[in-house]
Structures are given as C-alpha cells and as structure tokens.
Symmetry: C2
C-alpha cells in the first residue's frame, strides 16, 4: 500500500477534523452562553430546552444537535462560566503590593460579583446541590470546587506573604469558610436584604487578618 499518500491523506483528514471540532466546540459555547441567561433566571429544574431556545436566537432542535442531553448542556454551561470565574481575583493578587491593597481589591471584586452576577452564582449552587442527587454532575462539580478552592488559596497565601506570615488553616477549611459566607450573603442579597453585601464585606475584612 502507498504508505506516504495515506499518511498525507490522514494528516489532512486529521487537520480538517480538528478544524471541525473546533468549530463545533465554539458553537457549543455560543449555545451554552445563550442558555446561561435563562438558566440563571429560572434555575435548573424549571428551565426547559424550549424555554432556553425561546429566550435565544436558536431553535430547540439545535440544542439537541449540539448536546447529547439536558445534563450535558448544563454541565457545559457551568463549566464555561466557572472557567472565567476562577481568574476573577488573579489580577488583584498579582498586582497588590500591600495587605491593604489586596484586601480592598478583593473586597471590591467580591461586592461587584455578588451584585452583578448573582444569577450565575445561584445557578452554580443549584448545580452543586443537584450533584448530590445526580451522579452525572459530580465529576464536574468536584473539579470546579477544587479550582475554586485553589483560587481562594492563592489569595490567602499572597495575603499571608505580604505580612510575612503563613495561612493559619488548610485550603479546604478556608474555602469552606468563604464559600459558606458567600452563599449566605447571596441568599440574603437575592431576598433584597440591603445589608447582605456590607455585612459580608465587614465579616471578610475582620476575618482576613485572623486567618493569616
């Protein structure tokens, strides 16, 4: 057999397939972003593929073409969103030159997140709760949780570093603390409790020096 020609053909085939894949994936993300609007509004349980389609520029068939499943769609949505999420504080962490600078930068971003992206975050908490019932979600959720824990840890270690200290607790405990505080503040904020944001900021401001 003509080894070379089949090799060349294969190379071309691989290249075009990769291109196709890339295009396919780009479309998936596009659809996922459109779906996030409705999902953030209604939550996982109340959102149907039809509703997602109606609130977007797509028809409901397209979603079935690009996603094997409703679960598949939601996973892709939250993965995509959280991938951006975990980098939110990175700039503050790398540029801050003092503890105060880091604290204020962190708190500002925290407040902005809570106020502007409440819907996306409640979707995340929704998905994480669903993962306790639906095994198909667990792998993704645990992975995202790990990356969020790492995000918090980067902030904490930098904060400690700026004070020539060491974080006083484990990454897991620190993440649990901030996650718990954020979750509680989010619920209060969504319930129109105007003190939710300032209370969270006060709490974090008080906490930071005691844990590092």
């Amino acid at each position: 057999m003509a080894r070379q020609s089949t090799g060349a053909a294969q190379r071309v085939a691989v290249a075009t397939e990769a291109l196709r894949d890339e295009k396919f994936n780009a479309r998936r993300v596009e659809l996922a972003e459109a779906a996030l609007e409705t999902l953030g509004e209604l939550g996982f349980a109340r959102t149907s593929l039809r509703e997602i389609a109606q609130n977007s520029a797509f028809t409901h068939g397209v979603f079935h073409y690009y996603f094997s499943d409703k679960l598949d769609l939601i996973c892709c949505c939250v993965r995509h969103y959280k991938a951006k999420c975990v980098t939110r504080y990175d700039e503050v962490v790398t540029t801050a030159r003092s503890r105060d600078e880091l604290t204020e930068g962190f708190l500002a971003k925290l407040a902005a997140t809570l106020e502007n992206e409440a819907r996306m975050h409640r979707l995340w908490y929704d998905l994480r709760s669903q993962a306790m019932f639906e095994p198909a979600f667990r792998k993704d959720v645990l992975e995202i949780d790990k990356s969020l824990e790492a995000m918090i840890w980067r902030i904490a270690t930098r904060y400690a570093e700026l004070g020539n200290k060491q974080p006083a607790s484990s990454p897991a405990a620190l993440y649990a603390l901030f996650d718990g505080l954020f979750q509680s503040a989010l619920l209060r904020h969504l319930a129109n409790d105007e003190k939710a944001v300032p209370d969270l900021l006060d709490e974090v401001r008080r906490l930071l020096p005691t844990i590092c």
Copy 2:
C-alpha cells in the same frame, strides 16, 4: 343579646376548631414524613406528588387536600425535619464536662449524621438553593438557617466556656465555616469518597481550638 351564651358557644367553637386544627396539623406532619422518604431519594425537582404517594400509604389526592401546593408540602417537610435537627447536639452540649468530652461527642454525632442522614441533608441543601430562585421558600429557609447558626453557636460558646475563653469569631462566620465544611463533606460522601468523613473530623478537630 345573651352575651354569656354566645360567649360560651364561642368558647366551644374555638375549642373544637383548635382540636380540628391540631388534628389537621398532625395529619400534615404524617404526610410530610412520608414525603420525606421520596424527596430525600430524588430531590425536589425530580419528585412528583404522584411518586410521593406511590411510595407511601396515601393517595395523591390526599396531599392536595392537606397542602395547597407542592411548595407548601416541601416547606412543611423540611421545616419538620430541621426542627428535630437543631436539637441534635444539645444533649452533648449540656452534659459535656470538658473540652475533650464535648469535642468527641460533637464529632461522633457529626459523623453519624453525615453517614446516616445524608439524604435528608442533601434535601436541605437542595431547598436552600431553590430558595435563591423561588421567593416562596426564602422565609422558611432564612429562618432555618438562623436556627442552625444558633445551634453551632451554642456548641462554640460552650466549648469556649470549658476553656475559659471566648469564641474568636462571629456566629455568622462560624456557621458559614461549619456549613461549608459539612456541605463539601456531604458531596464527597455521596460520591463514595471514603475519606470524606475522616477528613471532615480531622479538619473540625484541628479547627475547634483555633476558633475558641
């Protein structure tokens, strides 16, 4: 008009109505307890009234007779369960005569809860997430959250007291920490991570002396 006789009639009427209410409420609780089985298994979204009825000794019509709504039913369920929940550690708190005794008693209950009542607790987290979308849930959820915060605070203050100290953080932060840790451990436990429980216990054991 005969003030006395109408007064007596009213008294009787009030008494019978109170009796009826009591009976009515007892039945509600009975139904709620039956519903908890299925709800804990499937979660809020996946559970239908019919499924609840089929897994119980009742017909689906009865549930509509005693509960105005599906939301009404779920609220009643979780309220009922959590009312028992918040007293779980009270005995340990009142009987413990030393820090070690309190620690070990607390950890034992904590581990038992995580292993034996995982399904009930994931339902609670499910409901709390849904409260971020469904306003009808918020009042109950915030109330339960407050009572859980108080529960944790009772443990912490007693622990501090046994060491002649004061808790080093606010009730809110302390609850956020434990809630976050428990939630994470619960998810891992449900995902068959055998280290979930021991890791939680280690973490709490390490944490307790540092926060009080």
